[in-house]
Amino acid sequence: MSLTLEDVARIALLSRIELSAAERASTRDQLNGILGFIEQLQAVDTTGIEPMAHAVDVVQRLRPDTVTETDRRAEFQAVAPETEAGLYLVPRVVE
């Protein structure tokens, strides 16, 4: 199967990446090239094979529920695009 321009627009929206109309067409062709390449995976019989999520089988470690970080808000916010009074600024979300 191959992607249509509408599919590309939908994926771009899910990815939060703006694509112009011209970019959409070239992106469709490139993505279809890559999808064509990974299509060969479909032919492999994987019945009964356990998916491998990680290279090494380990269980999630737990740690005591205690404070481990100090307050470094000012330092972290120094690299933010826009802050005010210790808050991150974004366009209005709720009217």
Partner: protein
């Protein structure tokens, strides 16, 4: 003094300990070389002489006092720009992080600094480590010091070029699908990707978290062993960091190779490899026979599926990891937008380059409703088949060998028009990442246009020390790893 650019880390350490050279003199030697040669190579993308020299002065102090000094104290190195380095711009090769000065150090940066190493600067790389040629960097491509019309490989291309040009004795790299080994091969260096989980990922900007692993790049296996000793170790801040007793990766370097069984996967010696690469690899295998090793054919029947499986799994994980770049807490924010969604989508459209966007889109698609089972789950099942092949193969051999890359360094632009052609540059390295195995590349001769060829060694899980011994013994018998580009001498 200038001959020190070719010295091993052990020799530098001895010279520093005997006070034949100071850490400040050594750092200055390399910084001056960087000033002179980097404009033609574009390997370094952040330098700060004051910061470097302050660190060098501190190293000289501890060398003078003695007590706190390690075997690496006072030796300069440089970090791939994927490692968060406190007070340094950490860009990951992206416009997205062009102005990001990290408020903290990666675990690896912390550990190497604690060992007394002196940071020369930050190294160029493919954007977010996505690339095999360094052409995707926002800061322009790195040039291969052996021939500046050729790529250095990627994504750790800045690391590789800097060492090959002797702008630094050592560097850090990261390897998700071959990003340490392939540039090491293309630039004539030694580089090692450890077993997944051996080195902490904390502070290393994430690309594909189940595959990403940091490792050392240097001139020789012995240098890599000393660096890995300082880099590896458990870190509770990385949820997949392995709790294992510390090991000395240099402990067996002088063990002879008699009786070593080298597995040669027939899938790695098929038609895909260029004849010049084949000739150099086969000559290296001949040298191993002389050193007392035997070779045995092994099979990795599913290795042909590793590149397509990787191009499902890695973009899927990347699409999730890179969702953090939203223009809110750090990174680039577009100048104009009408609402929050547009702020996100414009910041990401303008802040990411073409290859990164492509991979986020592919990753989003393969994880999306209705396609997850067909692509992502299927790729994870194939990943298990690939790992199981290695388990079988290692029943009959101690290490596996083959080419690192199917060709020597290629010209700029040669593969950039077709993403799939570029992806196939990593055909011999990717299966190692999928299985979580350690792998390394070491120089084994020169191919067409006198460009370096890399021999790949794949070790069993936690077989780093064995792999390093196998590489070191070869390097004692050969001198490929001591060669440097004539023009830069």
């Amino acid at each position: 003094m200038s001959e020190l650019i070719n010295s091993s880390l052990r020799d530098l350490s001895a010279a520093l300990a005997a006070r034949r050279v100071s850490a400040v003199e050594l750092a200055t030697l390399f910084l001056d070389r960087i000033d002179r040669l980097n404009p033609g190579l574009n390997a370094f993308i952040a330098l700060d002489r004051d910061k470097t020299l302050a660190q060098a002065r501190a190293a000289d102090e501890s060398l003078k006092v003695g007590g706190g000094a390690t075997a690496l104290t006072g030796i300069p190195l440089a970090h791939k720009d994927i490692f968060c380095t406190r007070g340094w711009r950490t860009s990951c090769g992206s416009k997205m992080l062009e102005n990001f000065v990290s408020p903290y150090d990666a675990h690896v940066v912390e550990k190497l600094a604690a060992a007394g190493m002196v940071t020369l600067g930050k190294l160029n790389m493919d954007e977010f480590a996505m690339g095999s040629s360094n052409e995707t960097s926002h800061f322009g491509p790195v040039k291969n010091p052996w021939d500046v019309s050729c790529v250095p490989g990627g994504s750790s291309g800045g690391s590789a070029a800097a060492i090959a040009a002797r702008l630094t004795p050592a560097a850090t790299g990261t390897d998700t699908g071959g990003s340490i080994r392939q540039p090491a091969a293309l630039c004539g260096l030694t580089g090692l990707k450890p077993t997944y989980g051996a080195v902490s990922r904390y502070g290393m900007i994430a690309f594909a978290s189940s595959l990403d692993q940091a490792g050392p790049m240097a001139k020789s296996a012995e240098d890599c062993a000393l660096l890995l000793n300082a880099m590896a170790g458990f870190d509770p801040r990385d949820s997949t960091s392995l709790e294992r007793p510390a090991e000395d990766y240099a402990r067996d370097l002088e063990q002879p190779l008699a009786g070593l069984r080298i597995g040669l996967p027939k899938e790695f010696f098929g038609d895909g490899m260029d004849p010049d690469v084949r000739a150099a690899v086969e000559a290296a295998l001949g040298e191993y026979h002389r050193l007392g090793a035997t070779t045995v054919e092994v099979q990795l029947p599913n290795s042909g599926l590793s590149v397509p499986a990787y191009y499902v799994i890695a973009p899927a994980e990347a699409s999730s990891n890179l969702s953090r770049f939203d223009g809110v807490r750090y990174g680039y924010r577009a100048p104009e937008y009408a609402d929050l969604t547009e702020m996100y989508s414009r910041s990401r459209a303008q802040g990411f380059g073409a290859e990164v966007k492509r991979r986020i889109l592919i990753g989003t698609y393969v994880l999306s409703h209705g396609y997850y089972d067909a692509y992502y789950l299927q790729a994870q099942k194939i990943r298990r088949l690939i790992a199981a092949d290695f388990v079988e193969a290692f029943k009959n051999c101690d290490v596996i060998m083959g080419p690192t890359s199917p060709s020597v360094a290629f010209a700029f632009g040669a593969k950039s028009a077709d993403p799939v052609q570029m992806y196939l540059s990593d055909i011999y390295t990717i299966s190692t990442n999928l299985a979580g195995l350690p792998g390394m590349s070491l120089p084994c001769g020169f191919g067409s246009n006198a460009m370096p060829v890399g021999l790949q060694i794949i070790g069993n899980w936690f077989g780093e020390a064995k792999m390093l011994t196998v590489a070191h013994q070869y390097q004692k018998a050969t001198d490929w790893h001591t060669r440097m580009p004539e023009a830069l001498k």
